[in-house]
């Protein structure tokens, strides 16, 4: 059985060993670890080309596994007290790893439940109703006083210098020229004019410079999206737009 592995799925040699033990549905014991040695080594074969640092950690465990394997293949001779050193340690480490792995899964559940509890936005300066303002330390009275003061000063100055009061205070409409809108407008105009349309014609109806810039940007966008073809016969000649169908 070839064990299909991908390097990035294992964070380390213990993780790999743990997954092999789980996959083979065997107990964590010296004997069963010896059984997965081949699979572990197969994985290392694939790992060869990778990062040496990482590979060396895998090699340490591999040598321990080989030792276990060899010992399990040898007849049960009068083994002396050296026997437990390698295998026993690996078994212990793997068991401990398994223990924390299970704990981390429980913590994961806790985390998911806890993530359903929201707190106040962090870094938020508490809003307070009423006079005491926390963040900017200014209240409405001060705002009104500031306005009176500044307007009084202005009127004085205007009177002395004989200036017209508050010129240009006419209300205006806020406008928001968006590329999306312009793109739609250009596409509509092109649909009406299958023979094409010039940039000059498009910009004729623009109310200000900003709108001309937005028109130009929209043309660039449409050209990029291959929705239109842009043609200029010679330098400084009129720029013509032709719609592409389909």
């Amino acid at each position: 059985m070839v064990y299909q592995v991908q390097l990035d799925t294992f964070q380390g040699p213990l993780e790999l060993l743990y997954q092999l033990v789980k996959k083979n549905k065997i107990e964590i014991s010296e004997i069963s670890l010896a059984r997965v040695t081949e699979q572990y080594l197969e994985y290392l074969e694939e790992l060869k080309d990778f990062d040496l640092d990482l590979a060396s950690e895998f090699m340490v465990i591999a040598s321990e596994l080989i030792e276990l394997k060899v010992r399990s293949l040898l007849p049960q001779a009068e083994n002396d007290d050296q026997e437990d050193e390698g295998g026993g340690d690996l078994v212990h480490r793997l068991k401990e790893y398994h223990y924390f792995k299970r704990l981390s899964r429980i913590l994961q559940d806790y985390q998911e439940k806890a993530a359903k509890r929201f707190t106040r936005p962090s870094g938020y300066e508490p809003a307070s109703a009423g006079r005491e303002e926390l963040d900017l330390a200014v209240d409405l009275t001060e705002l009104v006083e500031a306005f009176k003061k500044v307007m009084a000063a202005y009127r004085d100055k205007a009177k002395q210098e004989d200036l017209p009061l508050e010129e240009d205070w006419d209300r205006i409409n806020s406008e928001n020229i968006k590329i999306e809108d312009k793109v739609e407008y250009i596409m509509n105009r092109l649909a009406e004019n299958p023979g094409g349309i010039s940039f000059k014609e498009l910009s004729r109806n623009c109310r200000n410079r900003l709108e001309i810039v937005v028109t130009f940007l929209s043309i660039l966008e449409l050209a990029k999206l291959c929705k239109i073809r842009v043609v200029q016969d010679k330098l400084f000649a009129s720029i013509n737009l032709i719609g592409k169908t389909g």
Binding site: R120, P126, A127, Y154, I172, R207
Partner: protein, 171 residues
């Protein structure tokens, strides 16, 4: 009136750091704006009681939990490492002009105050007290400024009509 809906709206307002528009509450709760409003009014009455230290404020059809003014000093003491930002006189005057004259251009503000306004406008934008409303349809298409929802919140105004009126002769 469903208590679960009250609780839901309470949780939604609690997690917000700026006023939540009525229509957003309606969208999320699947209630009509009128129903949300009914629920909010129950919450407002409840939190207005003396036993509560927080209350719900309305700002231009949007709602926010705030602490009651009388506990401000305790809150400051608890979070005493928080530095208080101070608005300079220049910033305050500029803000006042924008509040009363909006929409207003930078040139107009500078005309009134007789000094450059660029830095002050940056500061006020940083605190989210003013915003660009668009461009004026005159030569150069200057940007026009107005106040933000945060401005209303900061001065505890329900909407701009609540700005104190100033008699012409006071000026």
């Amino acid at each position: 009136m469903d208590v679960k809906n009250l609780a839901k709206i309470e949780a939604l307002l609690f997690t917000a750091d700026e006023p939540v528009p009525l229509k957003d509450l309606a969208r999320v709760t699947d209630l009509s704006p009128a129903e949300v409003k009914e629920h909010i009014e129950v919450l407002i009455r409840e939190y207005n009681k003396n036993s509560h230290g927080i209350m719900i404020r309305e700002y231009d059809q949007s709602y926010l939990f705030v602490t009651k003014a009388e506990y401000a000093t305790f809150i400051e003491e608890l979070h005493n490492n928080r530095s208080l930002a101070h608005l300079s006189q220049a910033a305050l005057e500029t803000l006042a002009i924008i509040a009363y004259k909006q929409p207003v251009t930078r040139a107009e503000i500078e005309e009134i105050r007789g000094v450059k306004a660029e830095k002050t406008l940056l500061t006020l934008s940083k605190y989210d007290l003013i915003q660009e409303l668009g461009r004026k349809d005159s030569i150069g298409n200057p940007i026009v400024y107005g106040t933000t929802k945060k401005f209303l919140q900061h001065f505890d105004l329900k909407d701009l009509s609540q700005l104190p009126e100033i008699e012409e002769e006071e000026l």
